[in-house]
Amino acid sequence: MIFVIDSEEVFGKCVVRALKKNGFEAQLFNNAIEAMEEISRTGAPDLVFIDVMLAGPDGFTFLNEMASYADTFETPIVIVSERGFLKFDLKAYGVVGILDKKTMKPEEVVEYANKYT
């Protein structure tokens, strides 16, 4: 299962659609709390795509939460954002990639899904 966490619903749906079209199971969450609740119910997903600017707790809070627990700290996470994070090394938080909303393509989303699930 792949989690997509994005408060911009249309954008999140586009990511989910790209994944489902290529045979992946994906679920969209509008905020980090919903996603964390789902994780506590069903366990860690195989991969997470997350925007940093979220309604409620932001993406970094989510990253911190994920890194704090043994069953989630190894979950690969891809940041999807229009802000440039390339300068920052977020590997310690399980971040395996960063996609720029201004330039990303559905193929890149699928590429990460193929690589990490």
Binding site: V10, C14, V15, K21, P106
Partner: protein, 226 residues
């Protein structure tokens, strides 16, 4: 003139729908070549608009002096922009006449801003091109300045507007009098040029207009220092 605050609000407001439109277009499943052409066009249109929105978001940094000036390789920069502009037409062939005759290769500018200037001028000019009349990008040099000139084949400028424009930096309402142009691109180009202390101007032709930017050559990198 657009107020910086207003420009920022407009940019923020437009950014999200443009990002979403682009993603929706990229995920659009069409059948056949025509659908594919429409999809590519939708992506290209949103990407072109997004470039301008991005430029608007830089206005605040202009006020804060956030762009450093330095030597910029003008030919390489123009080559980059030409490639980018090709990409912004979604694979549709966009032919231009390009001529470099500048001896000095480096100008004093900010590469990011200068790219935006050239891109905005080219994107505007390509609106008016057809099979016969190609947009021209000419880079030349005279009196210690490198001139980047973009020639289009759009409608002629009314004489009074042209006279005003010769005197000062273009204001959107003046060039908006040209059908097919909102003048936002020119406004951005002139604002960025002004920041770089470049001279901007316009030359009127019978069948179009040339917009130019003149930048001082960068001497600090010159071996001879002259």
């Amino acid at each position: 003139m657009l107020e910086v605050q207003g420009a920022m609000v407009v940019a923020r407001e437009l950014k999200r729908p443009l990002l979403e439109l682009r993603q929706l277009a990229l995920g659009f499943d069409g059948n056949g070549l025509e659908d594919e052409r429409i999809r590519a066009e939708m992506v290209a249109v949103s990407e072109r608009a997004m470039r301008q929105v991005d430029d608007l978001t830089r206005f605040r940094e202009l006020e804060n002096g956030g762009f450093e000036m330095g030597p910029v390789a003008v030919r390489a920069l123009c080559d980059d922009v030409l490639e980018e502009v090709q990409g912004l037409f979604g694979g549709k062939k966009c032919e231009m006449n390009v001529k470099y005759s500048n001896r000095s290769r480096l100008v004093s500018a900010n590469a990011e801003l200068l790219k935006s200037v050239v891109r905005n001028l080219l994107l505007n000019a390509t609106k008016y091109e057809d099979k016969e009349l190609k947009t021209s990008l000419l880079v030349s040099e005279s009196k210690g300045k490198v001139e980047i000139k973009v020639r289009d084949f759009g409608p002629a400028l009314p004489a009074d507007v042209w006279r005003e424009m010769k005197e000062e930096v273009f204001e959107p309402q003046e060039i908006a009098m040209r059908p097919g142009s909102s003048a936002l691109g020119f406004y951005i180009a002139s604002k960025f040029s002004k920041y770089m202390k470049a001279e901007v101007g316009v030359t009127r032709h019978n069948d179009g207009v040339s917009f130019f930017v003149k930048l001082p050559t960068a001497r600090q990198m010159s071996i001879w220092g002259v």
